[in-house]
Amino acid sequence: MTPAGQMLIPALVLLPLLWLLPGAVHGGGLALLLQFWLAALQPSLDPHLLLTALRGIGVTLAIALWSWFLSLLLGFAGGLLSSVAVSQRLWRCTWPALLIRRLLAFPRSLHELLWGLILLQLMGLQTGVAVLAIALPYGALVARVMADQLDALPLQPIEALSTAGAPAWAALFTAFLPPLWPQVLSYGGYRLECALRSATLLGVFGLGGIGADLRLSLQSLQFHEVWTSLWCLAVVMLLLEGTVRWLQRRWHQPLGSVGQRGLELLLLALLLVLLLIPSAQLMELRWQELFSGWHWPASLPLWDGAGWIQPWLPLIGTTLLLTLLSALLALAITPWVLLLLCPWRGCRPLLQLLGLLARLLPPPLTALLLLFVLKPGLLPAVLALGLHNAGILGRLLLEGLDAQDQRASEALRLAGAGPRRSLLVAGFNTVARSYLSFGAYRADVILRESVVVGLVGAGGLGVLLLESLSSFAWIEVVPVLVVYAALTLIGESAADAYRSRLLSGPLPLEGLNQAVRS
């Protein structure tokens, strides 16, 4: 099958979804859903509300920034320590690196929301909980990516330096850091965007920031207020994404004078570090309180054999089905819409707007909206997760298409091919592998995310987990967490295997390529 064909084939997922649809629609709240969309045009401009929204967004941004900063620190340290190449230089053996790599798999295996809910129990109602909840799994993720990148570097430079008598650390920094910079830059920017989305999501579950306002005003059906927060968030997200993209592009090409990139980087780093202080004050971050007086109620047992007796097979089956359907849906949407609408001029802007909205709304809130017209169950959950991730994947696809060499599609068009054919042959064929590879990575993320739509009764492990948490039944929470972690680790290696098969050849596309290496 051609690469473009592989990009379009996930649309087969629509068959089971369409088959589920008639049984799931009730349409009772259609009027509500219409009201919701109409309210987009007239967000509430009440000054008090605007102020609250801005403050909420400030807190969300502060959480994102801090958790991003900490995750990079953790990630760099963890990446160095778990790289085989580095370990060999420093300690002349590989087992410390392999051990640390195994240990880091655990924080990575749980979604940041789960970390948030666990840390909330330990540390109480503080925004610092959200920061740590994001920083821990992100840090472990960054560490893995860093280690992979380090181990993929050629060893000649460092060997040369060592032979010349340079100390181990100095040799490592000189030989390994410069070639890593481009990846670190793209990946770091991408992580900041992820951190903003995660911080919004954690807010939905009451861990601070704009998410709480979104959920409360949505639940009380104050749609004009929902849109005030949503539009503010949209502006922030667009600005962030735009800036990150601009900087990445700028630093990927050779700049005017030698050292200019380094200088700019230093300035940016300084700016971000300076921003950390006011943002800590904004969200009232207090490390001392955060780490003092950890508290686990003696009355709540953690371990009991009875908690392990659960209908694991259907639970795991539903979770996997939810993940698979959502991932395929997320992959299928953008290429198909693009293909069907591409002769129309407004296609791109429309896709960009819809993609932004999809990324903006945290999946549990999308699911709540869908419940206005759908019965609770698998379908609203699949749609919520699928749409959100389609927004993320879609943006990468559009950027990938923009970044590729336009001459091929020009040539095809001049030769008389229609816009669809040229998009298929010249566009999709070149970006397909990187798109699918990023899709595999997102599928891995969706597996972790499936817990957040437990709210809408999708079934699976997420529902059991949320119910056990609200009953303070830790003897049930622990087994579910363990099973979840095992499942995501298996999922992660499956996605890795698929990606490495897909990416074994040289990658043709620059723009998408960088983000995909994550």
Binding site: G206, S217, S220, A473, I475
Partner: protein, 294 residues
């Protein structure tokens, strides 16, 4: 490397200002619209602050579980809990005391409501057995941990032989709050729902319910519900006798004083009364029966 560490230390150090003077942190389960809660507990905080001479701050929380956790952790000093969350919180927090309840809380009820359009064939009924008509309907509770919006309705439904899996879609919805339940049933997103009787009555009185669209199906028998729960260490922190002064302040709220009258009206009560702890034994046993207390 060392300069990086120094930088970090400098960065992290100023983030821990000394704790301000003792503040009494009050909170409540988020059972109604947030703007209403903000108004109500802003008034309560001002009233208590004036009467007790300490700083009082209202800490909003987003869900019932967070209120329980915050109380157990000692982040919240005085919380307006529901029956179930109050029992959960006291079971997890040694020394916690029940200070007061409203006059209506000893004999509280839930109401089952339905969308007229969706349930043309359903008429208001008086016998619990008729709850079985709700099988295969789209049904919404309030919050997962709500006593009047979930626990007791689920208990009465079970008595009529209706399990959560019998609803359309194989599970009930959880709207999050009593106001949301009314709105969702009124809109037709759910065909029926259950909520707090006092919220229902007060929204009816305020004219916020469209009675051409929503109809009351059934009132449940009575059970004890909401109560104020305080930490056991308040005397130690705020001075001897503080807890009883606090309790007195709550019990003496009277409709003769404008601000206190407003508080009572927003609470939907004539006054607060002492709450005997043992009356919540029934809630605890229902909670255990339905797995919400382990």
């Amino acid at each position: 490397m060392r300069s990086l560490l120094v930088l970090l230390a400098v960065l992290l150090a100023p983030l821990s200002p000394v704790l301000a003077a003792q503040v009494l942190r009050i909170s409540a389960i988020p059972d109604q619209n947030p703007e209403r809660l903000n108004r109500l507990y802003g008034l309560v905080a001002a009233e208590l602050s004036d009467q007790l001479g300490v700083q009082v701050r209202y800490v909003p929380v987003i869900d019932y579980t967070a209120a329980v956790t915050g109380f157990r952790r000692g982040d919240l000093d005085l919380v307006w809990f529901g029956g179930l969350t109050g029992v959960q919180a006291r079971l997890q927090t040694p020394g916690a005391v029940v200070l007061a309840q409203r006059d209506v809380d000893a004999r509280f009820r839930s109401v089952f409501i339905a969308n007229r359009q969706a349930l043309k064939d359903l008429k208001p009924f008086t016998s619990i057995a008729e709850l079985s008509q709700l099988k295969n309907k789209r049904f919404s509770f309030g919050s997962e941990s709500s006593t009047s919006g979930r626990l007791m309705p689920q208990f009465f439904l079970a008595k009529a032989g209706v399990e959560p899996k019998d609803f359309s879609g194989g599970q009930p919805g959880f709207s999050g709050s009593h106001d949301a339940t009314i709105a969702l049933v009124q809109s037709g997103a759910y065909e029926a729902g259950a909520l707090n009787e006092q919220v229902w009555e007060s929204r009816l009185k305020e004219g916020k319910v469209d009675t051409s669209k929503v109809v009351l199906l059934w009132r449940t028998p009575t059970y004890p519900d909401y109560h104020w729960v305080a930490q056991g260490n308040l005397n130690k922190r705020f001075g001897a006798g503080f807890t009883s002064k606090l309790q007195q302040a709550l019990l003496e709220l009277s409709p003769d004083q404008p601000r206190q009258a407003q508080v009572l009206e927003l609470f939907g009560a004539k006054k607060f009364i002492k709450a005997p702890v043992d009356q919540y034994a029934s809630i605890e046993s229902v909670g255990r029966q339905l797995g919400k207390i382990r």
